[in-house]
Amino acid sequence: MSQRHNGSIIQWLNKFMEKVLTKNIRQDLSYVDLNAYEQTGGYQGLRKALGMSPTEVVEEVKKSNLRGRGGAGFPTGMKWSFVPMNADAPRPKYLVANADEMEPGTFKDRLLMEGDPHQLVEGMVVAGYAIQADVAYIFIRGEYFRSEEMLRRAIAEAYEKNYLGKNILGSSYSLEMIVHMSGGRYMCGEETGLLNALEGKRANPRTKPPFPQVSGLFGKPTIVQNVETLSNVPHIVRNGAEWFKSLSYTQDAGTKIYGVSGKVKRPGLWELPMGTTIREILEVHAGGMQDGVRFRGLLPGGASTDFLVEDHLDVKMDFTEVAKVGSRMGTGTMIILDDQTCPVGMVWNLEHFFAQESCGWCTPCWSGLSWAEKALNALEEGQGQAADLEHLAFICNFCAPGNTFCALAPGAVEPLQSALKYFRDDFNRHITEKRCPWRAS
């Protein structure tokens, strides 16, 4: 393993706020062992949870307003409350950490797994306890070898100290934890595709209902939760729902790991209060645009979110506020478009990804996205026609939510539909000039 993150990845000392998720993470991302983790209060959340009833843990998480950090923002406690809890509920019940992180432009879960793996393990034991799960899987994307290594070390240490295994810390609760390395493909991150992948099948999505909470992995009750979501859980239990809510600037509670990539001065990740403005993240933390390039737009939270532009810089980054201006916070890791990068080329790159990753199940997705990719490529090559823009807009509607089996296609057209709106002139120039104006002729 060669160079890894150096100083610039995280602007560590933002002295004005409380660090929750990243407080233990070291600049060189060296392993934070059990001892070090315990010294800052590690596994206290679990100890406290074991003294509560599972329902009390669910209630506390519900009250905290924790929303899923995988992109959709579904209320976490509410999801847990759908799991059958009666004595004759089907067994084993499963908890799955979604560590697939394949959304282009997203790099936050890797930090949490490499930088503080025990935090995820503890979060999983607490979440497992809340739904009385018997087995927990961590589904890690296949290229995250270092995350795998760190988590395997942490899991081994946790078993040794009986934070995992039979009768955890003398309680009647037992949990096994297993690492699964993915074979690749974006669809593995979609929660039902993920369950098929864990069952050793192709990662096609499943029909809902039944929902995984009732009938998921191997037909048993299952919760799938993002790495960042789970990493918050021990802190909520330990410090309470009110404390968690007090961390944020807005209705959506907690802190958030925000990221910026693209031509900014200091690309990186920062843990900040939920609801920090886009402007603060971009200009203060990421240091603004590199010299000689100007800001044109951004995808607020990964490849499958709608573009925002200059007018939106004062929007607060949370699930609710970003939705009000027609996009989504998604994963909270923003990708910046600058004036020396072609917006059509950028959207072509995105649609190439989505067309490639489509599982081929539904027509709007596989045919629509591959057509879109070709049309965008033609535009870039100077062979686009005015009618193509109408057809691209049609595909955006064709792939709208409700028309496809899973959320890949609706997500795929978000950057496309918004680019057609905000960068229309740039599309038109490709047609009238019969070339990409950004390419050296």
Binding site: F107, R141, G183, G200, R202
Partner: protein, 154 residues
């Protein structure tokens, strides 16, 4: 024929899942770790061990881009072609790589040293452009740095 070690590693995975088929991806990854790729013969052996048909297992294998069903070089160079790397110079990096190695994406050098493949976002977008060689992530890879990186893999 699977080696005793491969067999042992695969069988150890059985304990982690309620049925054998669920081990299919882990099993193929294990074989690939030892051999670089999953040949037809290995696929048949794995299928037998998992009590599946070879066709069924191949249907799983072909879905996953990290399971190689064709031989690869001693080192696999995966170049991130996703959006942040594209913005930060993917095209130039790809051109450098293909011209230095004298192969196109998807090909293997004549000496069997490198296979070049595209890959999606490697989760290091703040240090774009990125490549992964075998299990090693390399970031901020500009053409000047490339020689030093490739040099490490013989």
């Amino acid at each position: 024929m699977l080696s005793p070690e491969e067999r042992r590693e695969i069988e150890a995975e059985f304990a982690h899942y309620p049925n054998k088929q669920a081990v299919s991806i882990d099993a193929m990854r294990i074989v690939q770790k030892h051999r670089g790729w999953v040949s037809d013969e290995c696929l048949k052996d794995i299928a037998e061990l998992l009590e599946m048909s070879a066709d069924e297992l191949d249907g799983v294998a072909t879905f996953y881009n990290l399971i190689f069903r064709r031989p690869v070089g001693r080192h696999v160079v995966m170049v991130c072609d996703s959006v942040s790397c594209w913005i930060m110079g993917y095209d130039r990096l790809r051109r450098e790589l293909t011209s230095r190695l004298g192969i196109q994406m998807g090909e293997t050098t004549a000496d069997g040293r490198f296979t070049l493949l595209p890959i999606v976002c490697l989760g290091a977008c703040d240090h774009a452009p990125t490549i992964m060689v075998d299990a090693d992530l390399h970031h901020d890879v500009d053409p000047q740095k490339l020689d030093g990186v490739l040099e490490k893999y013989k």
